[in-house]
Symmetry: C2
Subunit: 325 residues, 2 copies
């Protein structure tokens, strides 16, 4: 396999998510040369998704008149528990059928090019640190609130990966040991309160129990059509059930952030992901809970802010990870 010796060559970055595959080419100065988005179609299983990654990479290269020899590396950010030493996706709740898949070596085998594999929220943390909300800081934590809840930790200006490369599974911090069941099998994880799915589930549950809400109309009478985004829209229109559901999520997110502040004393907590696009209706209560419940010396030291790079934080981070190796 060719090792990209020439540090001046660009990196091809892949963000493999449950819904989208984003492919981008980044120059060594950090400029995005190309960017293309594809549907993951995760239901088709790992082999089909990998084939889609392969053909998409070839398509992006060809559209930009680039060959593999003009790249220094491929770098993949994936939603899942990554064994970084061995380049294996061990578990991936949002990628159906992905268990112990050695994606790094599969891609290296296919393209004969050095390949990196990291967790997507870790990549997003690195992206936000180098180019986004956290530029120049030493210590920060990023949370991505989407279908699930991911996390990334920057310590001493570097991505903190832990001993297996899988640190920052912040969504599975237990904050209510007797709380609702989480996807992971435990009870009362942060994710079980603040993910998009959890927010939608809470609204559905309140309506099923007789709660009145404009959400029913918004979902055309079909309770299963309620999403976190619809809850946010309804709250913005003054729907009180929807507002209460968001307040509840914000409160629990606040508790999770209190724990992170007390444990890691970061300078910043960045909240990203689709749910974070709710903005201050979510973040302002989080700041209040942290002010109230974290130690004053620590809560005064932390800024709680929205992410800046949006959906591109993952590809930015994946590319930077490879460029900085």
């Amino acid at each position: 396999m060719r090792k990209g010796k020439d540090q001046k060559l660009p990196v091809l970055a892949v963000d493999l998510g449950g819904t989208k595959i984003i492919i981008a080419i980044m120059s060594h100065q950090g400029e995005i040369i190309a960017r293309q988005s594809y549907n993951t179609l995760a239901d088709e299983g790992p082999q089909a998704v990998m084939n889609r990654i392969f053909s998409s990479i070839e398509e992006v290269l060809s559209q930009n008149n680039l060959s593999l020899s003009q790249l220094s590396a491929i770098s993949i950010a994936a939603a899942g528990i990554i064994d970084i030493k061995n380049g294996v996706i061990t578990e991936a709740p949002n990628l159906s059928g992905w268990h112990d898949i050695p994606l790094k070596s599969i891609v290296e085998e296919k393209f004969k090019l050095t390949t990196f594999l990291i967790n997507d929220a870790d990549a997003a943390a690195l992206g936000e640190h180098r180019f986004g909300a956290g530029k120049g800081l030493s210590n920060l934590i990023l949370l991505t609130l989407g279908t699930g809840v991911g996390g990334g930790i920057i310590i001493n200006s570097g991505l903190y990966l832990g001993s297996s490369g899988s640190a920052a599974e912040i969504g599975h911090m237990i904050i209510d040991v007797n709380g609702p069941k989480c996807q992971c099998g435990n009870n009362g994880c942060l994710e079980a309160f603040v993910s998009g799915s959890a927010i939608a589930a809470e609204a559905k549950s309140r309506i099923s129990q007789g709660g009145k809400s404009s959400l029913i109309e918004m979902a055309e009478g079909k309770i299963e059509n309620i999403t976190a985004e619809k809850v946010y829209l309804a709250a913005g229109e003054g729907d009180s059930l929807a507002s209460e559901v968001i307040s509840r999520a914000a409160y629990y997110l606040g508790i999770g952030v209190v724990n992170l502040v007390n444990i890691l004393n970061p300078e910043m907590v960045i909240i990203g992901g689709s749910v974070a696009s709710m903005g201050d209706i979510l973040l302002e209560p989080v700041r209040q809970v942290v002010k109230e419940k974290a130690f004053p010396l620590l809560s005064q030291a932390v800024k709680i802010v929205p992410a800046r790079l949006g959906n591109d934080a993952g590809i930015f981070g994946a590319a930077i990870f490879a460029l900085e190796q």
Copy 2:
């Protein structure tokens, strides 16, 4: 103030705890030259305790025929929330009346010698990393279970202090948001389940509610005499109420360690402090809970072990902190 330029000179270390003040002199090779223990008598208030620290330092120096000019620094480990940049003890739950006391500058003023001030559990983590259970590891977490619960984090082989120098307030990680009140004012902190005080309180509460236990006899009929140590002894003698109380504490400690493993993916979690002297009756259930509830890749990577340095971890760590600056 004289800056101890000569790296070859020993450090005088102070461990300021709620019960004891330990003073030691450590050579630059890490040998303890002298060690002396005093009662803190914290009830007498900060000024009296500081005077006791001063006279104890002078006593230890004089007993060892040493003068201040033969030291490179003084280094203090204290139980409390330390503003490390400014050398201030901002809060100290086990030191009555200590609020915003600039101990570093007070000691520097008194002895005209460079002084360091860090949290006692941070110091213990550093001690265990350099000389104890965690030698040679990159990432570890130490928990001290005593009257309260303290924590220290080693990352990339160095003490992680966070942005204000107060990281690792692990005892105040909320694991049951609707749980029992903690000393800090929040509900369901780890400390509220696993500190010595919490273990004794749980036994007292079960007995008050009519639970039968040999603890009543052991405490000579006075329920207020029940301590965590007595609960441990009773459990060892087959008392089922006492065993259940310890199992409960071990379960919650396990939940706390699951969170730390999922967030920080450490190679080791070291459990120290007086409560940890219970040994495997406490640690074995913790290992089981972690195996069951943390992500397999992460739980397989971590060893959960007792501390090795006992009460001296704090002074070791304080001395090392100064020697390594």
